[in-house]
């Protein structure tokens, strides 16, 4: 951060210099100055801005947040019978429970299990105080989105990894990178700033939903887009 600030200052000082200089230069300067020199400056500008845009900007844009508890999915997966749905279950009305509530955790974690420090903190800070864990949800979508897990998981039989990747096999939770402007996780735009994605779970923007809907569902119910209607994924 500090480096950028400094740079910015330098640049602005440069500008100031130039501005003061300009009126004094007058016509005399017009003829000199070699073409190569100019091109060099072009490249300096080009590279500086590329660095700014590709490297510094992402650093500035995302804040790094640690999860309150470093949850180990892998361990839990070994212990449960029903895969992801053991904890991330469906309610009877077809709604999806999402991130488990403390009440579910307490079923097993009434007492400290194992010896990790994480576990101790969890039981002390949350279980005993009956406080919900403020999990940071990597896949949290904007409020305007209606995502039906039941349709995707039960009806279309889509594997959880298709969107969520292999988080179920992870032993710890990665740093949550929050977009300072939008407040959403970096996982929505994708780790790659250019928006390039290798895996189906690398990005969770509307176009990714639309792409799959066009391919798999082949609906043409929208009069405007000849694709799936807006009021399918939006509320």
């Amino acid at each position: 951060m500090s480096t950028l600030d400094d740079q910015a200052k330098e640049v602005s000082e440069d500008v100031a210099d130039r501005v003061v200089e300009t009126p004094t230069q007058k016509e005399g300067n017009q003829v000199d100055g070699s073409g190569g020199f100019i091109i060099l400056f072009f490249f300096i500008g080009l590279i500086a801005s590329l660095i700014l845009g590709w490297i510094i900007y992402p650093k500035l844009l995302y804040s790094q947040k640690k999860q309150p508890i470093d949850f180990n999915h892998a361990i839990h997966m070994d212990l449960v019978d029903d895969g992801c749905e053991s904890c991330h279950f469906f309610r009877e009305d077809g709604s999806y429970s999402g991130v488990p509530k403390l009440a579910q955790c307490i079923d097993c974690h009434e007492e400290v299990q194992g010896e990790t420090e994480n576990e101790a903190v969890f039981v002390q800070e949350y279980v005993q105080k009956q406080k919900e864990v403020p999990w940071l949800v990597y896949s949290r979508q904007p409020d305007c989105v209606f995502f039906s897990h039941v349709v995707h998981v039960k009806t279309a039989q889509i594997d959880c990894t298709q969107c969520h990747g292999h988080i179920g096999e992870s032993t710890n939770l990665k740093i949550y990178e929050e977009n300072r402007i939008t407040g959403y996780s970096r996982d929505i735009w994708g780790k790659n700033m250019s928006g390039y994605k290798k895996n189906s779970w690398d990005r969770m923007k509307m176009d990714d939903c639309a792409e799959c809907h066009a391919k798999e569902k082949g609906m043409e119910s929208s009069v405007q887009t000849k694709k799936d209607a807006c009021f399918v994924c939006h509320k």
């Binding site: 300067n29 500008g45 590709w54 309610r91 709604s95 904007p142």
Partner: protein, 737 residues
């Protein structure tokens, strides 16, 4: 190395090119637009598990079943309960706004005590002990009868707890707020010999003759009446509305008959005249199951010929005659009365005249008719043991004079109280409890009500909301709102079957409030001895559960209990009068003053117009004020900005030089107000109408300060027969402002 202008320009161009090739501008643009979609100051409702809780709405006496939709522990929406005998899924505008009365700004969030004119926080224990001390002091002075309680109802455990407390404390002054219930109860008592409330089998009637009753404007149990109205539409039932103004009921009725206000009783007697004259009455009922017919007939035949009635009511003679014939010839005709939503009792003789119509056509105690429903009998608490102080206090007459002297039949006469207090040297009421009511708003002549209340040294309000009465109280001990508390809901206004509902806590109390039942129990316990002993329950919930006994489980599960086998008693058994017959008249009735149209207060010369109130479903005018959603739906021809619009016939307006939307000064003998004018063809010339439910000074910013409270402009007019308030309007003057 010299950096000149061109180099710099080159640098800038390079920078621009690089920036364009980097994600910065594109992602920033995208993110900024996402930022506008998730502005931090726009709330995002949290998701959670959906659950539904069945309960009963107690915002009005309608007793509708509600299904409350919750997300985790939040009330998100209130819906009508499907299958509930009263409302079967339907719900009124006030019930729908109920969640706003739970979370709104009008809530009193903790017990408050007025110190030097301003409310200060106080703990529950302190508040109760201070009140208790004051009560003990009064009692020890032998002034226990100077304690009074004003309640919105006298049925159900909470009013009964108050009543019990007062009794064992030594005061007969439990007072119910006035409504048409007073008049109907008296009518039933005198004519049917039944102690109880009327049940109207409106659903099965095929001809409704309504004397200014707001059948679909909130009369009775509103949702039930809406449903009945739709039934009539489907099944060919007829509704005739007799009313000076084209109310929604009048507009939706099959025929609207405009009548001079206050003369409805005369019309009823006029109809009776024709029915008798043309022998259209049900002779089997009249001859075998009624008494006093001939005596009453004379009175009707002498005084109420169509010509006379036409003159009094302003209705064409032929209309009266054909109406009488249609009514009598319908298979299940039902005449009902009580103006608007029934907030004022009205003239007893008018009620009796209307009820006599039902008797004439024999539509009493049978399908599609009216019958008396006995008082609910589920509250069977242990006999009270009274000490001498209590007995002494109970022997004092009621402060409002009800039940003795001039007013032998009235149970409660709250309308008389302000005058009594204001005219006494020292207020005869030294301590006042107010629960489930807002007399400083709902009683006529609010200025004198407030003045009287200010003369009472101790006023305790149990309102969960900061209403007008709470504002002038010395203590506010906020009750839970209906979504936070248990309470039994005794039979519903006008419902034809005995039914008990149970209001349940849907969410935990949001604030530091306490169930009013618990407060009374705690208060009693703090006073020791007989008083404490009269309340053998730990908590109100305990009391309620014990009281309801075997009905408790049904109530918790279903939300209501109803006597499904109930049928009205047959004509032979239906009347508990001395004659065991329906009594058109008897000595007692005869001794009361005769029917005469009630004149509005004020002289015609200075007040050439007549101001009447009207009720609207969109404006809660009872002890609860309109929540934000409800007030939002009020039309701009009723309320514009902070101004109320007065309905006036264009012809009358023209005479007064008033135009649509213009300001005018409205003056009555009781007060004056600046109002706007709304030209409305549906109102009789010479009459102006104003909605009830506006002009609150308390509540939240969404309601306070909007419009004028009709009750500020009217005073009570005592019914010579019963002592109840019978004012239906007041003389008024309207002038350009």
């Amino acid at each position: 190395m010299k950096i000149d202008r061109r180099s710099f320009l080159s640098f800038v161009i390079g920078g621009a090119a690089g920036t364009a090739l980097s994600p910065l501008p594109w992602k920033l643009t995208d993110d900024l637009s996402i930022w506008t979609q998730t502005w931090p100051w726009v709330p995002v409702p949290t998701d959670g598990e959906v659950s539904y809780v069945n309960s009963v709405c107690t915002l009005c006496p309608g007793g509708c079943g509600i299904t409350v939709r919750k997300i985790d522990n939040r009330v998100v929406k209130i819906e009508g309960m499907k299958g509930h005998p009263v409302n079967d899924g339907g719900i009124c505008i006030l019930g729908l706004s109920g969640a706003q009365l739970l979370y709104g700004q009008m809530r009193v969030r903790e017990p408050l005590k007025k110190v030097n004119g301003r409310f200060k926080k106080i703990s529950w224990d302190e508040a109760i002990s201070e009140i208790s001390k004051k009560l003990v002091e009064l009692r020890s002075k032998g002034e226990s009868y100077k304690v009074a309680c004003i309640a919105g109802s006298d049925r159900g455990t909470v009013p009964e707890l108050f009543n019990r407390f007062l009794t064992v404390y030594g005061s007969p002054n439990f007072i119910r707020t006035p409504s048409i219930q007073d008049s109907y109860e008296l009518t039933l008592h005198l004519m049917h010999g039944v102690q109880g409330m009327p049940g109207f089998d409106v659903e099965n009637s095929d001809f409704i003759l309504s004397f200014s009753s707001g059948v679909i404007d909130g009369w009775g149990s509103p949702v039930r009446m809406f449903k009945a109205n739709s039934n009539w539409r489907d099944n060919g039932g007829k509704v005739i509305q007799v009313e000076p103004r084209l109310s929604n009921t009048a507009a939706k009725s099959d025929k609207w008959i405009a009548i001079n206000p206050g003369t409805e009783g005369a019309l009823a007697l006029g109809l009776a005249h024709i029915i008798i004259k043309e022998s259209l009455y049900n002779s089997s009922f009249v001859n075998n199951y009624s008494t006093g017919f001939n005596r009453w007939k004379r009175h009707v035949m002498d005084g109420y010929s169509p010509e006379i009635v036409a003159k009094i009511t302003g209705i064409d003679k032929s209309v009266i005659v054909s109406l009488a014939r249609d009514f009598a010839r319908a298979s299940k005709p039902l005449a009902i009365c009580g103006r608007g939503q029934g907030w004022t009792p009205g003239s007893l003789k008018e009620f009796m005249a209307v009820n006599a119509l039902n008797a004439l056509v024999g539509n009493i105690n049978k399908e599609g008719g009216i019958w008396g429903l006995a008082e609910p009998d589920y509250i069977n608490w242990p006999e009270l043991e009274m000490d001498s102080a209590a007995s002494r206090g109970m022997q004092e007459g009621r402060i409002d004079g009800a039940g003795s002297g001039e007013y032998p039949h009235a149970k409660y006469l709250l309308n008389r109280l302000p005058e009594i207090i204001n005219s006494a040297e020292v207020s005869p009421v030294q301590a006042l409890f107010v629960t489930g009511s807002n007399p400083c708003y709902t009683l006529p002549d609010t200025a004198s009500v407030k003045k009287a209340f200010e003369r009472i040294p101790l006023v305790v309000s149990f309102s969960p909301y900061i209403d007008e009465t709470a504002e002038i109280a010395d203590f506010i001990l906020p009750n839970h709102v209906f979504l936070e508390r248990y309470e039994d809901v005794p039979p519903v206004a006008g419902f034809q079957k005995p039914i008990i509902g149970l209001s349940k806590p849907v969410v935990d109390p949001q604030f530091n409030t306490k169930h009013v039942g618990d407060v009374i129990i705690q208060l009693a316990k703090s006073m020791g001895d007989f008083i404490a002993n009269a309340f053998p329950w730990e908590t109100y919930e305990d009391c309620l559960q014990t009281t309801l006994g075997d009905k408790w489980d049904t109530l918790v599960q279903e939300g209501y209990w109803t006597d499904s086998n109930f049928a009205p008693p047959a004509w032979a058994q239906g009347f508990e009068t001395a004659s065991t017959k329906f009594e058109f008249t008897n000595d007692e009735i005869n001794s009361l003053s005769r029917f005469s149209p009630v004149k509005p207060e004020g002289d015609e010369a200075s007040y050439p117009l007549v101001l009447i109130p009207y009720d609207s479903m969109r404006l809660a005018s009872g002890f609860i004020g309109d929540p934000p959603f409800a007030i939002k739906t009020v039309e701009d021809t009723v309320l514009k900005g902070k101004d109320v619009l007065i309905e006036i016939n264009p012809a009358t307006a023209k005479k007064l030089g008033l135009a649509e939307g213009r300001y005018a000064n409205l003056t009555t003998p009781k007060g004056s107000a600046k109002v706007k004018v709304h030209l409305f063809d549906g109102i009789m010339p010479g009459i102006i109408a104003m909605p009830r439910g506006l002009g609150h000074t308390a509540y939240d910013k969404f309601l306070a300060g909007k419009g004028i409270n009709f009750n500020e402009l009217i005073g009570p007019v005592e019914d010579t027969a019963s002592g109840h308030d019978t004012a239906w309007g007041i003389s008024a003057k309207l002038a350009k402002a």
